[in-house]
Symmetry: C2
Subunit: 521 residues, 2 copies
């Protein structure tokens, strides 16, 4: 990046004061940065410019993109509800490339392996940068310094905040929708590529200058429910295939069979029980992945045994959560993203399986959000340090391989637990310092590893509650030492001075920078 002015932020990380030509604010601490000014107001539309009969169908995505003003330098957004079955992003940039358009900014809500073909457009300058998660091949390419602009990583809530506050102005939003009508009303619960909901595209629909809905399933007006409201939509494109249904569903819908992970899950659930968190009317969120799923199952068993029920579970929904809802062990699923077809079906038919959005769940620049109401959230991390700071975007080798997702936003739950293995591939997970800080330690309450549980000293209340419980409570330093005893002290990854991406905190400030990894000598 050109501007090399850097300052140390409130968590001690050296971060740039300008990113992609715009001044940015260094992280100030949790709850310290107070935004000023007003939300972004998109251009006022008028019915004059829209067809009298409401029919916004356009023959092809290419025509729609051209009509929407595709040109050099514009920002194009997509959502990730189709997950690894997304067909939009590559098509959009294929079209842009064919038209010779350069320097685009891609603003996805997340990227997946299926987006690997975009590396060539990062190489040839069709895409200037990605503001969103840079996973897999895109992450590696970025960390090796290949991307022209600087990547910007935001949480799901931070993405909504950035759009709402006008930090990112989306020129063209492309919203792939499993079901839509000609007016642009759209949902994710119907159609051959049903994926559940479309909440990650909400900000895009509300704030983008031009909104294109793409679907392979047109229904007569009205498309009900209208998770995306046609009144925000400019064009509707009918395509042969809107997404690959077989790849929409996350692969991580089976409970773990790994004894280590099962142990993690069991310990975590037991901790929650002993700490008094599992009780009548409590609420929880557990991410995808085998460990998290297993914890949900333990919770369900506990509730059944105690004759209690939870008030709500936040999803990522899956068949196990749906089973809890159907067995009346939880009143509501507040779902941000469906992980399997049981989740999709339940959202379609059960009014207590409610779709949410990053606005309701995660936006820090709202009048509160749902994440802070959750009693306990169980998350993962790539690294944790002795101050409980945690990393989710890079591994210890410095390579960007994950997005933040809702992880940062979830830290605002009343109790945040990270379940991590003590080491991965003989590389310790608990470090003196994490490679990249995504979450400040003060927000992280408990670290559960297969060899013991560390409780943040800030949570004396929790320490008090689990006293004499027989749970293997250790200090975080003890856990780190234990890992190093087995794996040795890990060597430090070497970096160049060049910043390839920045990580935003939930309030839009810069919490950390990601550096170009040094070429092996």
């Amino acid at each position: 990046m050109k501007n090399d002015l850097r300052v140390k932020n409130a968590i001690g990380r050296l971060v740039p004061t300008e990113v992609n030509g715009k001044t940015v604010i260094p992280y100030q601490g949790v709850g310290k940065h107070r935004p000023t000014g007003n939300k972004y107001g998109p251009r006022i539309s008028t019915c004059i410019d829209f067809p009298d009969d409401g029919n916004k169908l356009i023959p092809s995505l290419k025509e729609a993109l051209i009509k929407a003003g595709l040109k050099d330098g514009v920002t194009i957004s997509t959502h990730h509800h189709f997950r690894n079955g997304d067909l939009m992003a590559v098509q959009i940039f294929d079209i842009a490339s064919e038209l010779g358009i350069k320097d685009l900014i891609w603003f996805p809500s997340a990227s997946f392996e299926c987006h690997e073909p975009l590396v060539k457009y990062l190489k040839d300058g069709t895409i200037n940068r990605i503001e969103g998660s840079m996973n897999g091949a895109l992450g590696r390419f970025t960390t090796e310094g290949g991307m022209k602009g600087t990547g910007v990583l935001r949480s799901h809530g931070g993405r909504y905040q950035a759009v709402q506050d006008g930090e990112v102005q989306i020129d063209i939003a492309v919203i792939a929708a499993p079901s839509a009508d000609f007016f642009g009303n759209a949902n994710g619960v119907d159609g051959p590529a049903a994926c559940g909901l479309l909440g990650f595209a909400l900000a895009d629909s509300q704030y983008a200058d031009k909104v294109i809905v793409v679907t392979d399933h047109i229904v007569p007006f009205p498309c009900v429910p209208w998770q995306i409201q046609g009144n925000y939509v400019d064009y509707v494109v009918k395509v042969e295939k809107g997404g690959l249904p077989e790849k929409i569903v996350s692969g991580t819908t089976e409970i773990t069979k790994s004894p280590d992970r099962l142990l993690l899950a069991e310990m975590t659930a037991k901790f929650c029980d002993i700490a008094g968190i599992v009780k009548d009317g409590f609420s929880f969120q557990a991410g995808a992945g085998g460990t998290a799923l297993s914890i949900g199952i333990y919770f369900a068993e506990m509730l059944k045994k105690k004759g209690m029920k939870a008030r709500f579970a936040r999803g990522g929904s899956n068949k196990y959560l749906v089973k809890m809802l159907n067995e009346d062990l939880v009143d509501y699923i507040l779902d941000g993203q469906t992980f399997d077809l049981d989740g999709v079906a339940s959202m379609r038919t059960n009014p207590n399986h409610k779709d949410t959005s990053p606005f309701t769940s995660y936006n820090y620049h709202g009048k509160g959000n749902f994440a802070q109401l959750v009693d306990v959230v169980i998350l993962g991390a790539t690294e944790v340090d002795v101050n409980f700071n945690a990393n989710v975007v890079t591994h210890s080798d410095g390579v960007l391989l994950h997005g933040i997702g809702g992880w940062q936003n979830c830290l605002f739950a009343k109790c945040t637990i990270l379940t991590v293995p003590l080491f991965r591939d003989r590389i310790p997970v608990i470090r003196d310092e994490v490679t990249t800080i995504c979450g400040p330690g003060e927000m992280i309450d408990v670290i559960v590893t297969e060899r013991g549980i560390a409780i943040n000293p800030l949570r004396q209340d929790l320490l008090e509650r689990i006293k004499n419980s027989g749970l293997p409570i250790k200090t975080i330093q003890e856990l780190k030492d234990e890992a190093e005893k087995i794996c040795g002290i890990p060597s430090k990854q070497k970096f160049d001075d060049e910043i390839v991406a920045v990580v935003k905190w939930v309030d839009g400030t810069i919490i950390d920078a990601v550096y170009k990894i040094a070429k092996p000598v």
Copy 2:
């Protein structure tokens, strides 16, 4: 009003160029005024300022209003889903009066008889003006020149447009809600004062600086469905009674027994049938009131006989519409306001009974809206002129007695029918010129009276379709002459030069002015 600069607008009416100190745009013709600039962006909020546990409960409305910054000159909004059972407006201005606060602007989505006590606050300067409907006593008081500021009448869609575009900035929105949680999520389908939906408060929640939800029915988080999203809400107040359920329901839920009105209804339905409007998959909207209800029943009978079904009906919903939905004569009710308890129950339980809002249904400064997709809308009017211009806000005596409601917005349907009696109390309804123009004649296709049907000459297609049908087709001039033959030529109401209110068109321009009625000599 102070500034007396007036210009003739595109429909030939003399309108002011400044209203309440703000420059306004004279009506330019249908689809002629193109808005510029951006939507209003409310102040950016932050979770820092809201309770960690999400509990926004405040002990009383008074405290909430003070916390929300109640002071001289602010704009306070309320909605009218409780209809004549509203308890908020009078309470709010009682509190303001008690605190000695002056010059408030009341921005209701509609007013009812129950608001008569506010006349005293218009008199003593607590309220400067009403921007909204001035019905009953408020209308009479305004038309007699009693209100300090100038009234501004907007359609439901125009109200959303004005808020969205920043023409009206709401300082404090008070949203009475039949059911809510402590976070501010709220709906109208549950609780002892269930009124259906809360769509008229949507703009208020999205754009007001401070939002207060008032309810007599607190449920544990989450209040589902959240028709009002707590993420927009600042304070929640629990009161003994949020509204009077027995007065929420409109009195006009019985089909008419008047033979004249039944004739009107039958002729209208027959016209729609012969004109080819009633067909498989068609859509319709009929307002409240006995005539409109009866038309719905005729439509239902026709569909049953033909073995057809409608795609959607726009409500005001009522038991007759709900019956159609339950008998599978219509796929969806797209409901803006429930008129009876059958409507409320149906919205609560039937996913095909969808709540809508002025944003989805009526906002002219959106990317299209639902009103324009409706095949036929049947409305009333106080007066119609020989150019098909119509009035809904004043009677021929010049007194403001009605709001616009969704009337202007509905004119964008594919066929707009006004059903009116030829005369009321021996005063002809069809005139050379209406007292106040609310809808331009070019938008009004058909006038149905008990003595004949006039079709707008602009609709040659309709004239063609009903040729030789045996329907009593007349010119509008013939209908006028017929009325005058019976009632005599009506005398003209005398007005002072003072403008007491203006009527906005759906795009925010001024279509007409309402003058102070001259004192009888």
